[in-house]
């Protein structure tokens, strides 16, 4: 490999390099990190945020933002626990559609529309649950279980969603249009792309992915809580950004987002292993997010 292609590779995979360095440092300080069971745990811990972040990737690539994914995840899980899992997915997609409609046809900025949904979906979760956690049924619980002693289903689901996200982004017209809309909405419109209808689907996808993430989370815990997944939208956005996507749109990849979610999970796991107090963990995670964004911005200059 020539110097130029190494440099190109590194610059396109800055997040991956960061993940490896991070893992190496943690492994050196605490060898138990590399324990197979622990690595599986990291994967399981990453799964919920990753699935949510894959949906967020569509939105961010298309130049938007979705603040409502944490609340949608909680609502979908609660509906799933009170009725049946698939209905939770439908509710999640519907919430996304409402976001899309407010943004496309109501011409609201994505920040405002999804901020409203953040509140509405959380509120509905509290209403339906009457403030109490509810046990999940066998189907939902299965989503959080192990297929075999070292084969956790959340991990497999994360990989499946990763594959689907990559396919949608690179191999479907909807995916190609996301890049066009996020890169230059006006040019997309003048090229005959129905920007408004596409945005509906994009936000619906984000809602659907958030619902799936919510069900996986509830499955792992065996119950859906009224305050579940609160604040997860910020982790999802962080994963997407660490993965190299641009919040101004048009740039982003499934691989990047997967790596971004893994960075967050490895960091949390490593900080626990190193017995860093939880209050300090938040500080460290914030610093890492800022560093990742800084590196990315330096690289682009």
């Amino acid at each position: 490999m020539s110097t130029i292609s190494i440099r190109k590779y590194a610059s396109e995979n800055g997040a991956l390099a960061g993940l490896l360095v991070l893992a190496l440092v943690i492994a050196l300080m605490q060898p138990a990190f590399l324990n197979a069971q622990n690595l599986l745990n990291v994967g399981v811990q990453a799964a919920v945020i990753a699935i949510m972040a894959f949906g967020m990737t569509f939105v961010v690539v298309a130049g938007g933002i979705d603040l409502s994914v944490g609340s949608i995840a909680a609502l979908a899980a609660m509906v799933g626990a009170l009725t049946a899992g698939p209905l939770g997915l439908v509710v999640g997609a519907l919430c996304g559609l409402v976001n899309g409609a407010l943004i496309s046809y109501g011409k609201l900025p994505p920040f405002i529309a999804t901020l409203a949904m953040l509140s509405v979906a959380r509120g509905l979760t509290l209403v339906f649950s009457e403030g109490q956690p509810h046990e999940t049924d066998a189907v939902v619980t299965f989503l959080g279980s192990n297929l075999a002693p070292s084969l956790p289903l959340p991990l497999l689901l994360m990989l499946a969603f990763f594959g689907v996200t990559g396919l949608i982004l690179t191999r479907t017209n909807l995916g190609r249009r996301m890049y066009a809309i996020g890169g230059n909405e006006e040019a997309a419109k003048l090229s005959g792309i129905d920007v408004r209808r596409n945005k509906l689907w994009i936000y619906a996808l984000s809602g659907l992915f958030a619902a799936a993430a919510g069900l996986v989370l509830a499955g792992r815990l065996g119950s859906a809580g009224p305050q579940a997944a609160a604040g997860y939208e910020l982790d999802a956005i962080a994963a997407v950004v660490i993965g190299g996507a641009s919040l101004s749109g048009g740039v982003g990849r499934a691989t990047g987002t997967l790596v971004g979610a893994l960075v967050l999970a490895v960091l949390r796991n490593g900080l626990n292993l190193l017995q860093v107090p939880p209050f300090w963990q938040q500080v460290v995670i914030g610093v890492v997010i800022a560093l990742a964004a800084l590196l990315d911005s330096l690289r682009r200059r």
């Binding site: 130029i4 017209n173 190609r176 249009r177 890049y179 066009a180 996020g182 890169g183 230059n184 006006e186 040019a187 997309a188 419109k189 003048l190 090229s191 005959g192 792309i193 129905d194 641009s246 749109g249 048009g250 740039v251």
Partner: protein, 469 residues
């Protein structure tokens, strides 16, 4: 002769490409020094090196004069007043607060130097682009800039505004300012240039005097003789492919009727603000209209529906390449496939990129291409869709001479295949030279139509016509 800036042997690489290769440039006090060259020849890089934005890999710059650059994208704060913008960064202060009275007192003097008569309290965002440019120039002069670099300032100006700018430039020159002027318009060069440095592929290929002929400038620029600037190959017109009838949008344009036949190029000329772009956008379905019809190949189009227009066989290359034509974050290939996403045949992409002679790979980010090659990408995405009628709105704005001729050849190829072209252009020689008929618009109406071989005077006479309301 008082030399303000002397640059010697300036060399600058970007990765593997050599943007500048041993360029010498002297800027004297009291001269207008034109930098001429195709897009990608190194003009902008040279300006950035002079301004200290890039440091050269080799070469020296000696100079005592302070230097100001007026970029095409203006560096003004639209929400602040004229006076505040003039003194931005060095607002006069009194007791720690902005001294508005002092600012208002000093602003008119500065504005007078650039012949601008505006209220210092007016919001800059409310002013026209030409006035904003003057404000930037005034600000540079207040900082005692001895050298003023103007990077394609006339690209966004109307003819009268350009005249005024050229007069101000001449005046500044007479006051001893050294001006570096970048423009693609050869007529402007002939009007103000004292010396012309021609750049090609990062090298300075000649310094010409004020008497240089356009032919000479073009040949130096492209490095080969150009036979004909407007190589229009006429076809026998066939059936009407685009017919616009009585198109009206209240307050914008009124009762516009234009017919374009198969094999034909119809030009739309007129002053900026005559409503040409608005008609093109309405016909293509981007904007709504109040009355009238648009039909492609006899089939009426649904109003305000871009998808329907494209389906019927209409295409539009918009005037604002970066703002409306390209997805700058995407690659050449991704831009080419925008209109024809449903078509999965990737080989056609490479095919069209080759045919268009786009300098750049299909996988390359489109923002790395020069203006001319970017424009070829925008046109290429439509050629892939093979529309019956293509509307080109200012297709060669900011495009160098070589690429211009290539775009004209594309127009010829389309009409030779029985397609039709509606050519909106502010470049009079171009719209006259490339059109089979020229429709002239004034004040939102059709002022008249001229056959092939019309003169610029005839077009202008119609364009400035007062139409009774």
């Amino acid at each position: 002769m008082n030399t303000l800036i002397a640059a010697r042997g300036i060399t600058k690489h970007f990765g593997a490409t050599k943007a500048l290769d041993g360029v010498d440039l002297d800027i004297f006090a009291g001269e207008v020094h034109v930098l001429l060259g195709e897009n990608g020849a190194g003009k902008s890089t040279l300006v950035k090196v002079l301004a200290g934005i890039h440091s050269p890999d080799a070469g020296t710059i000696e100079g005592h004069a302070s230097l100001a650059v007026i970029h095409q994208e203006l560096a003004l704060v639209p929400e602040l007043s004229v006076a505040e913008n003039l003194f931005l960064n060095r607002l006069p202060r009194r007791f720690g607060f902005v001294d508005r009275a002092e600012m208002r007192r000093r602003a008119p003097e500065l504005l007078r130097r650039v012949g601008l008569d505006v209220d210092p309290d007016a919001k800059v965002g409310d002013l026209g682009i030409a006035q904003q440019q003057m404000i930037e120039i005034a600000r540079a002069l207040d900082k005692d800039a001895g050298v003023l670099i103007l990077d394609e300032p006339t690209a966004v100006l109307t003819d009268t505004e350009t005249d005024r700018l050229l007069r101000i430039m001449a005046q500044l020159r007479d006051n001893g300012v050294g001006l570096v002027f970048i423009t693609h318009h050869l007529d402007e060069i002939q009007r103000v240039a004292d010396r012309i440095t021609v750049l090609r592929d990062g090298r300075s290929v000649g310094v010409l005097g004020p008497r240089a002929t356009p032919q000479h400038m073009i040949e130096l620029m492209v490095g080969r003789p150009i036979d004909e600037q407007y190589p229009r190959a006429r076809q026998r017109p066939g059936t009407p492919l685009l017919s616009i009838q009585g198109l009206t949008r209240r307050g914008v344009f009124e009762d516009i009727s234009i017919e374009v036949h198969a094999g034909e190029v119809v030009g739309i000329a007129g002053l900026v603000g005559a409503g040409r772009t608005e008609v093109a956008r309405a016909a293509f379905g981007v904007d709504a209209y109040d009355h009238g019809t648009v039909a492609v190949d006899g089939k009426p189009l649904r109003r305000h529906d871009v998808q329907a227009a494209i389906k019927a066989g209409l295409g539009l290359v918009p005037e604002d390449r970066k703002g409306q034509g390209l997805v700058l974050t995407a690659t050449v290939g991704q831009n080419l496939e925008l209109v024809t996403l449903d078509d999965r045949d990737q080989s056609r992409l490479h095919d069209i990129a080759g045919k268009l002679r786009i300098k750049g790979r299909v996988e390359q980010p489109v923002k790395e291409l020069s203006g001319g090659n970017q424009q070829k990408v925008v046109i290429g995405k439509w050629l892939l869709a093979d529309p019956k009628v293509l509307i080109l709105d200012e297709p060669t704005r900011g495009v160098d001479v070589g690429a211009k001729v290539e775009i004209y050849e594309l127009i010829n190829r389309m009409t030779a295949q029985g397609r039709a072209v509606l050519l909106v252009s502010s470049d009079l020689p171009e719209v006259i030279g490339m059109s089979d008929r020229v429709v002239v618009m004034a004040h939102g109406r059709v002022a008249g139509e001229l056959p092939e071989g019309a003169t610029q005077d005839q077009v202008m006479a119609l364009a400035v016509q007062e139409i009774p309301a």
